[in-house]
Symmetry: C2
């Protein structure tokens, strides 16, 4: 079995773990799965996609450049962006406990605006939503969101819409969440 550098980590039983084991055994967060996936994509030279650092407003820096007072800022863009097949990729990832819908209040309105602008400019924009209580993860492109929101309620996206127009991402081994396979499909259809 091939061990990639980013997987050489040990679990509590002191055994080497892989992302898939972690996912099954410990209920890895959506963020961890996406980060593992992006490391894998980078490792195989497929794509370069990073999570942006959380925006923090620094109030006070002590001696030795240590931050002693700061607070979280409202993000103006999404969490993830990067390059795949020369194209600009941009997305936001969110978990919801709901079994029926994804409430839009879970995403800042300026993040939605940002994704709509990326789409207008020819980039590939989407959200990844994990329905944790259902153990289902979907990729949903902003182009579909635009169509949906023009004709429907603006406070949430029902699960049915994800099933109908999104694509379910089934966690696997390498990579954990192969969302770029759906980006390939998307590129072929535009």
């Amino acid at each position: 079995m091939i061990r990639y550098p980013f997987q050489i980590e040990k679990n509590k039983e002191n055994k080497l773990k892989t992302p898939s084991q972690s996912y099954k055994n410990r209920g890895l967060s959506l963020e961890s799965m996406i980060n593992d996936t992006n490391k894998y994509y980078k490792f195989i030279d497929k794509a370069l996609i990073y999570k942006k650092p959380t925006p923090i407003h620094i109030v006070k820096i002590d001696k030795e450049n240590r931050i002693s007072d700061a607070f979280f800022e409202k993000p103006s863009t999404t969490d993830y962006n990067g390059i795949y097949k020369g194209k600009y990729i941009d997305f936001e990832a969110k978990e919801t406990k709901s079994k029926t819908s994804f409430a839009l209040k879970n995403i800042h309105s300026n993040q939605i605006k940002h994704l709509l602008m990326v789409d207008e400019m020819g980039g590939i924009a989407f959200i990844i939503v994990s329905f944790t209580a259902l153990d289902k993860i979907f990729i949903y492109f902003i182009k579909d969101f635009k169509k949906y929101i023009d004709n429907n309620d603006r406070s949430s996206i029902p699960l049915d819409e994800f099933i109908k127009n999104g694509r379910e991402i089934t966690p696997s081994i390498y990579p954990v969440l192969d969302y770029l396979s759906f980006v390939d499909e998307f590129i072929m259809n535009i």
Copy 2:
């Protein structure tokens, strides 16, 4: 005269200021000039390019979600990225006081690696270097850097190389630093 929303700021004399005035009068930092330029590009729907937040490792969060202990992390990517004409743009901006060369120790080696990878993947990667003592700002594409570094000293890039293979960006009014005009030129030649 048109006043854009992001320019409605006042200087010490309580007069409305423009980016160009700021640059001339106060010696605006390269970062401020780039940020103003990016706001302008966004305002006219030309490009979406953002500065990533500084990566910070949070040690302690107090009540009310306030950060009371944290430190700066080494960046794994560059400061700026985004989308222009559907393409992925990625760059780093640095100032140097030197009058003769730009020392590569000013950029983290993983940032240089990142820019080389972006170039390999078909993205548009470059650095913007301001020689503050000379009042000259250059855009220098990673494709030229690759050619240069294969045949030369690996510790610095001499000013002559920027003059020969880079392009000088002359600060102007709207936008302050029109670096995308050189990206257009670059796109035409690839």
